[in-house]
Symmetry: C2
Subunit: 246 residues, 2 copies
Amino acid sequence: MTERAATSARQRGNKAPAARPLAEIGRQAQKSASTRKLIVEAALQCLIKYGYSQTTTPRIAVEAGLSRGAMMHHFSNRLTVIQAAIEHLHAKRLRAFKRAVSTLPEDQPHLHDALEAYWRHVSHPLFVAFHELAVAARTDRDLERILRPAQAAFYRAWYDLAVDLFPEWQSDRESFDLALNLVQVTLEGMAVSRLSATPDPKAEAQLFKYLEERLRDLMPMEMKNSKRYSREKPKGPAKGAAASRT
Amino acid sequence: MTERAATSARQRGNKAPAARPLAEIGRQAQKSASTRKLIVEAALQCLIKYGYSQTTTPRIAVEAGLSRGAMMHHFSNRLTVIQAAIEHLHAKRLRAFKRAVSTLPEDQPHLHDALEAYWRHVSHPLFVAFHELAVAARTDRDLERILRPAQAAFYRAWYDLAVDLFPEWQSDRESFDLALNLVQVTLEGMAVSRLSATPDPKAEAQLFKYLEERLRDLMPMEMKNSKRYSREKPKGPAKGAAASRT
DNA sequence: AAAAAAACATTCACGTCTGTCTGTATTTTA
DNA sequence: TAAAATACAGACAGACGTGAATGTTTTTTT
């Protein structure tokens, strides 16, 4: 009979066992991998649509378009699906963010664009999924155990990316860290408040602009003098947000 | 027999029907009121301890120390309890915050203290309960319907309180609103991030201090010149955030 | 003091989720 | 090509939550 534990252990994580040409690696393995991906994406979809507690195995199965039995063949229990979903989620988030950042014009002032990239990032449905998991993890030890490391890894990667993006800023580590924390707290705070209150685009634009200005103030002198960052008139994150005062 | 709908309709909201002296109004009504309060506080406790989806009627009953039947007598269904809990929660949050603010020294620079009051506010377990509800409401229409108005009312009261607290700031409404949004987004963002990541007191203190300084910058000139707000050396929200490394 | 009502407990019927087992078709291995 | 493994579907038992019905005791009415 199919030895469940062993089965899912082997399947967990790696899709193709080795480096054989695609056409050679057996269509069964391919199908398995694609089905697993299907399930995992369905799980993320459910997180977004129904929230964590309503992301049940039947719902995921329906969303994925296969029977619950089938999905239980690939993941022996609910938490395993969630775990895979978390890995997928973080990989996706990170990849998307990296891509956004790497396409930034290299020799242009990119503070603004980097900020916008992160803002788009936290406005993305995947961030909602993450937040849903984070909140659930507060009162779910098992979930916390698998979410924490993934989250820490994500944050670390995010930090490293920021370092890469602003090498000149490393001269003042103190202000750099403060800036990063500021960005994270502010933008994520805005994203979260969006979920419960009706979003106010004007206020958001204002906050965004203000944040950007403060970050520019925080930059070390050498950096500000570099033409790369000296944009005087940012083209604005949203519709003009008007001159605030004076 | 006890006509449920009518019963809970009458009980909803008001504890004592009229103005008769306490000893006179029937101990039954008193008991009912106190039991209802017991249940509602148990519900809040559950929200904090188990999260929204695990705040089930059996759990609430256990937490309140009575049978589920008893509690179903006072609240005909789960959502009714939640509704009462929400009202209770917002009243409590608002009252606590008002009290904190009203005890601020009248003729002292109170930007710092007001900020700290709000920070304590969002660090309080009740804020966790609120956040739990807010997140659940995203995917629960019924919950949303009862949470939204309460939340809006709370925010309005909060805003009015801020206006009272900083009357001089009203000369520049634009910067005042920005400041409020900034406070809300930042502090709530910090509070939320606390829930999922291990809190970093040093970073928090740094952010707090920075926020306070920015707010002081945002204040209109007239205000800054007033001795009331001109504190040069704030006593710092936490231990001095020292120079980390150069 | 009898009748009505309220506070509270116990139980039941129904639905849903979970984990597991059994059955079938397809693919892989030998 | 026979045997083993895998992908998938369907069904079952156990646990749990919900809302409602049915009792029992205490308080309030009259």
